[in-house]
Symmetry: C2
Subunit: 165 residues, 2 copies
DNA sequence: GGCTTGATGCAACAGAGTTGCATCAAGATG
DNA sequence: CATCTTGATGCAACTCTGTTGCATCAAGCC
């Protein structure tokens, strides 16, 4: 996806295309994984200075407009990826309990009979969240080699110090 | 379930049966819903004084021992209910976006083909989380009557002041 | 030029859970 | 009995992940 597509996506979602929003869209459009706000913030900052509040507001906006979707993981940080309309599918995720990475799966429809659900529950169904919890291949290998900390490399918590936007 | 059963469950789970743990088990054994720690704390406190840290430690212990299971909702508080071994089934949940209540569903097996998942993912699958998001019947009715706040009644946040255990 | 509007920044705050250390009771040991 | 150890609990302070209020700034309009 190039810059042109990003702007088109924002417009289609009814969102004013500012520089930061384009950068966030660019990160989300990677599409491999659902990312926590902290990771998105780091990636966007490789391009330009951004305040974390701005990012949170953009993510909320994107979710409201269907551009992004927000998913809960086993830890306390929500993960964001492109919404169904822009990723081309409603999909579940595979969450690694060791490294915290959350991979986007091909689709949810094969796994869950949503229609049957709507009928069987006395509830207006808005969405279905499917998450597979386990240990990813990278972490399994790392564990076999004797490591104890999973297959993570990044770490570095996003800070809050003045002048850091 | 009476007190006798509670103690038996704790023993079966390999957990020392203290007064607080029995009370927590009692609350979880209700079985209708998965409850946030705050709700559990309030209910246990109707019986005896307890510190919130104690509750969190008990919940962690219960989850480790399989007595309870921990589920993520659309908000930032985890919900706890009896684990599969003690509730008699692995099950998903229905989360109401209005009132935040999370109902335990009959079973997950009918909805998700877990075996197929294990095969298709390069991952050691530990668990599957299925959550239906929507608006519960009570909230739908409340909304039709013109209310704007969902079908909740409780509210009251659990405090942290000294002398409150 | 003045006015409004929307996006962004900054500081302080909030909720949910954690950590470290103190205390206390029940057993185990002598 | 005196003492030692162990596990459960309490309390204060802390972390992490967002949120809220208010200030600023730029762009468009009159
Ligand atoms: Mn995804
Ligand atoms: Mn349940
Ligand atoms: Zn992993
Ligand atoms: Zn409801």
């Amino acid at each position: 996806m190039d810059g042109k597509d990003m702007a088109a996506m924002l417009e289609e979602a009814g969102v004013e295309p500012t520089a930061v929003r384009l950068a966030v869209t660019h990160v989300l459009a990677d599409g491999e994984r659902a990312l926590p706000a902290g990771d998105i913030l780091r990636k966007v900052r490789e391009t330009m200075p951004v305040n974390k509040v701005t990012l949170y507001r953009i993510l909320d906006l994107f979710v409201r407009q269907g551009l992004a979707s927000r998913h809960s993981s086993g830890d306390r940080a929500f993960r964001y990826c492109l919404g169904p309309r822009f990723s081309g599918r409603a999909h579940g995720h595979a969450y690694c309990l060791r490294c915290g990475r959350m991979a986007c799966l091909p689709a949810t429809r094969d796994l869950v009979d949503v229609a049957a659900l709507g009928r069987s529950l006395d509830m207006d169904v808005v969405g279905v969240e499917v998450r597979i919890d386990g240990v990813c291949a990278a972490c399994r290998l790392a564990a076999e080699k004797g490591g104890t900390g999973g297959a993570v490399e990044d770490g570095a918590v996003v800070d809050d110090a003045p002048g850091k936007n």
